[in-house]
Symmetry: none
Subunit: 201 residues, 4 copies
């Protein structure tokens, strides 16, 4: 009986994952999720009190892991501000390593969190994450010194978003662990080289 309940729960979550992925939070239909899960519409509500609760059960763990990771990185970076560039780049690399590990376990959840959560309580997650990454980059690149003009701010915002969105597209295109890792390392190398070159100028 417990097996049965867990089985249904799993089918609901699985159906919801596909539905939210396909239609986004607000256009997703509890009816369709129930139908896809092969149960009666009302039965979903025995497992998840409402649409938002179902969404949270699916997405919240991934959200928390992301925030945890990013905030930890932010603190680490802040503590290493005056170390040399290679070391900092090592930290950036470490960032990607952690991201990849996290993503390997929750590809679709992350995609939903970042691109399909409009109307839910996570609709600002992408901006939150991007804002923190911006702060990290500002620490790394500008050593916390000097003025950051609006042009630089935008460039950095784009870089930050690149990471977040790079995460998304990698999730859509790549399935194997080593490929994900390699893709990010590749991208990191481009950025590192590009930033170093710019720093010279």
């Amino acid at each position: 009986m417990q097996t049965l309940k867990e089985e249904i729960k799993h089918r609901i979550l699985s159906a919801a994952l596909d539905e939210f992925d396909l239609h986004g939070y607000s256009q997703s239909s509890m009816r369709r999720i129930a139908a896809e899960a092969g149960i009666a519409t009302g039965n979903i509500y025995r497992y998840y009190g409402n649409k938002e609760e179902l969404f949270q059960a699916l997405i919240r763990p991934t959200y928390l892991q992301f925030m945890n990771l990013i905030l930890t990185i932010k603190e680490e970076v802040r503590g290493n501000l005056f170390k040399d560039v290679p070391e900092q780049m090592g930290l950036v690399d470490a960032t990607f390593n952690r991201l990849i590990t996290l993503l390997e376990e929750s590809r679709k959840e992350t995609k939903i969190l970042l691109t399909q959560s409009q109307g839910s309580s996570f609709e600002h997650a992408k901006r939150e994450l991007t804002d923190i990454i911006v702060q990290i980059f500002e620490s790394v690149i500008f050593h916390g010194e000097g003025d950051i003009g609006p042009n630089e701010k935008t460039a950095v915002a784009i870089l930050a978003l690149t990471i977040v969105e790079g995460v998304c597209i990698t999730l859509q295109n790549v399935t194997e662990r080593e490929q994900i890792r390699h893709s990010f390392v590749e991208l990191a190398a481009v950025f590192a080289a590009g930033l170093k070159e710019k720093a010279k100028a």
Copy 2:
């Protein structure tokens, strides 16, 4: 009378632009659009057969211009494959220039096309654009020779999406013509330097 009709059409489109920008396609309300346009709800349907048709009238020109631009670039790049790297980088730069010009004339439309079109017939536009940019980058970077492994493919996909998403975030953050241009040049420089460095290795 025709002038009158055009005036109303314009007011509908203007109201729709704000509504779609603010709420996204599927959460936008025909009633609110009519109210904002200062006409009766039902009157919209004299001008645009339904919600999707109104959306198309608003977004399709921008969509076509983008596809046109991107496909033109693709052909140009293909015809210049064996020129040297700096020249190719010049092409990449030209890409950005054209993009910027296009964006300066249709900021909101582009933002809607790329981030607020879920549920409409343009919901795959972002992926279409990204896919073509991927092909362009593959031409530029790998000279059409040799094998492109899955790792490289992903890295390139990320680069391509970076451009598209860079467009989006710039549109959200920057309002002045010169700032848009500067942000993109900045980002292009990072990529150019990074790719050149990688090419050496």
Copy 3:
């Protein structure tokens, strides 16, 4: 086993009593009743075919006792029409005594019957009781003689309802046996004095 069944029946009735008292018939929940009784939801239906049947099992005895009492009193009063006023007042007093005894044993059931039965087959019980009390009062006051105009009818209807509602409010405010009795005697005294005074005029 029969003992067991009786035990469960009792627990269901006890839980239902509280639920109906608290939420009224139509807003009461079979699930909550089952939970409160410590049994499975579906198991209620082994004992009581449906919600209405459960309600009847709980409330019908009290309803019948009330009707019995009231109808008995009605007959007694009819048989004593030409006795003198003090004797009649004694009868009225007896009415209250019997009511109190009945109420002492089924406070909650009475409250539910009179104020929480909307949507059930007893939703007209209050009116039925009041109507009969009206008839009794008409016998007592007008000796069955003469015409009873609509004005008198209404006044009497109010008096009757006063008793019924007095019952309800007493049940809500007073918990001890002697207080219930005292409250009713008090009220009866006011009515008796008031009616006597009116009778002189």
Copy 4:
């Protein structure tokens, strides 16, 4: 067109009045109200935002008039505490006069307010009214002096409720202005005489 809207509004209110009267607030159905009003279900929401709003539009004016009346009376009584009994009884009589006038204009609304508002924001109206009437009676009867024991408190509560419920039953039985007035005067006389008699003892 405005006439048409007013006509529909009137039909909705009329249908709602019957529905709430028959089934009580929480068991009333917007569908049935719409059907009874001869319009589509969704159309109600063009006129009243939701069920509660419709209920308020129907019942609130009556509620406010009642509270106004009762609180005015309370203040008047407080200002006349040491006048003699007949004069006070005159005030009680005035109370009834005002009540009657109010009731003549909103019979069903009052019945719904007092007996069919469970689940709405007016579900405590009856108790509020009764509580204030209790305070008035305590002023009148005990002149604000001495202790009021629990027995007296219950008796007074019953008297207060009698008035409120007397209002209800009169509304159900009597239709003509003069009859309503007469019934209440009659009842008032009984109470007045009864209380006087008791006061002697």
